[in-house]
């Protein structure tokens, strides 16, 4: 999310202290909203919206969050926006899982073996997430509300990143062909998660930066790049290549039939020789 770039320590900064967003951040935020709107519009007009409902739900959520966050920032100031920020961030994290569901539904569902493999691997990851969520509060004392939220998001994004790497690995390992739409969806979301993870890690380690520092700009740029990738790759509908298992089985059947025919021929000639006096 572009507005991710705006997250700073709200209790330290208020509008009256002149901590306003630098103009590149504002521009990227606005461009992001325009692209999100364009993406939704194209999805509606190109009828891809009905084909990828989870993905477009994520985009709609992101747009609603961006618009409402922008209004908060503009009319009520920075401090008010920061309160708004975490709600939107975790909502995006949860709805973002819909993109992974979309990949399962559209890419893996024709390949039931690969889907099963990915599902079990995903379940294992889910167990790790649950275990982590249970253990985390006991292991790490919450020094501050803000720090805990940062670290929790970083950890959840890490699990999401691991899950995505596993998913990409399964797709790659089983050589599953992917259409332009899904390729763009995966690339954009993967890029966004990776940039978020790196940014959150650096923030957690080095302290929370003011808006406009390099890692914030990097996250904004990566989300902008992700929305751009989505807009171009989902401009029109490109279905995934259809698996051709039937063609291969036809070939196998022919080979087996030929082998059986030759065996029967050999038997017949053998029998003929035996039958001759």
């Amino acid at each position: 999310m572009i507005h991710m770039a705006l997250s700073t320590l709200g209790r330290l900064f208020t509008r009256s202290k002149s901590v306003d967003m630098p103009w590149p951040s504002l521009v990227m935020w606005c461009v992001g909203m325009v692209l999100e709107f364009l993406l939704l519009l194209r999805g509606f007009r190109g009828k891809t919206l009905a084909r990828y409902p989870f993905f477009y739900a994520y985009i709609a959520c992101a747009l609603a969050d961006d618009v409402s966050g922008y209004m908060q920032y503009w009319f009520k100031g920075w401090a008010s926006y920061v309160k708004w920020f975490w709600l939107g961030e975790f909502l995006a994290l949860i709805v973002g899982c819909g993109i992974i569901l979309e990949v399962f539904r559209c890419v893996l569902s024709p390949y039931r073996g690969a889907e099963r493999f990915a599902r079990i691997a995903g379940f294992a990851t889910f167990v790790v997430i649950s275990t982590f969520a249970l253990i985390y509060p006991h292991v790490m004392p919450a020094s501050s509300h803000r720090g805990t939220m940062f670290e929790l998001e970083r950890d959840l994004r890490t699990v999401q990143a691991i899950f995505l790497v596993g998913l990409f690995g399964v797709i790659r390992y089983y050589g599953i062909p992917i259409g332009k739409n899904m390729r763009g969806m995966i690339l954009g979301y993967g890029l966004n998660v990776a940039a978020l993870l790196v940014g959150l890690t650096i923030r957690s380690y080095a302290g929370v930066p003011l808006p406009g520092t390099w890692n914030v700009i990097m996250q904004q740029a990566s989300y902008g790049a992700a929305v751009l990738i989505w807009t171009t790759s989902l401009w029109s509908y490109h279905p995934n290549p259809v698996p051709d298992s039937s063609v291969r089985l036809e070939g196998d059947y022919e080979a087996f039939a030929a082998r059986t025919r030759s065996t029967i021929g050999a038997l017949r000639s053998h029998l003929a020789r035996v039958a001759q006096p």
Binding site: R112, R116, F117, A161, V165, Y174, G190, P241, R248
Partner: protein, 192 residues
Amino acid sequence: MIDLILFLLVGALLLLSLLFFTPGKPKGRKDAKPLAEVQQALDVLQFGLLSPDMVGRIFVKKDFDYVMSETTGEVQRLFLAERRRLALAWVEQVHRQIVSLRRFHLGSARFYSRLRFLTELRLAWDFATVLFTCRALRAAVYLRGPYAAPRLVGATTAAAARVCGVSEKYLDFLRPARMMSFGDDSAGGSVE
């Protein structure tokens, strides 16, 4: 500091894995080979390349010792060069047939709804091991001659035989009786 490195590594890993998706056209397509071709690959491995006679003939030093004791330096050099070429050809063939088996396995297992997670993991490990040892053996033979790494030969042969065993079971499973039901959910049983 360690957690910083770990988290950054995960991020970098994700970015690296994205690189596999960057080519513009669909890539990495693994259409399964026909069963007959795979059976042929399996036969070549089991009854030809991996047979103890052939492995022994190429990699055991008996011939080498004989040549060393009975012939001149020129003949010895010629023998070593030929034997190295032969060993490299053997490794190349084993590698090729294993790749063929893996391609077949992945091409058909991806459709199989009752695939076993742990079996697949083990098989993936076996394939990776045998292909890695093939590469290592090729490097060893190329650099130090056919008799440089007898343990590596043993490891390659054992790993390849293990993969062949699993592939054979898989082929038996797919063959005639179940052939007609392959591709839909009704295919019972599983490959262990």
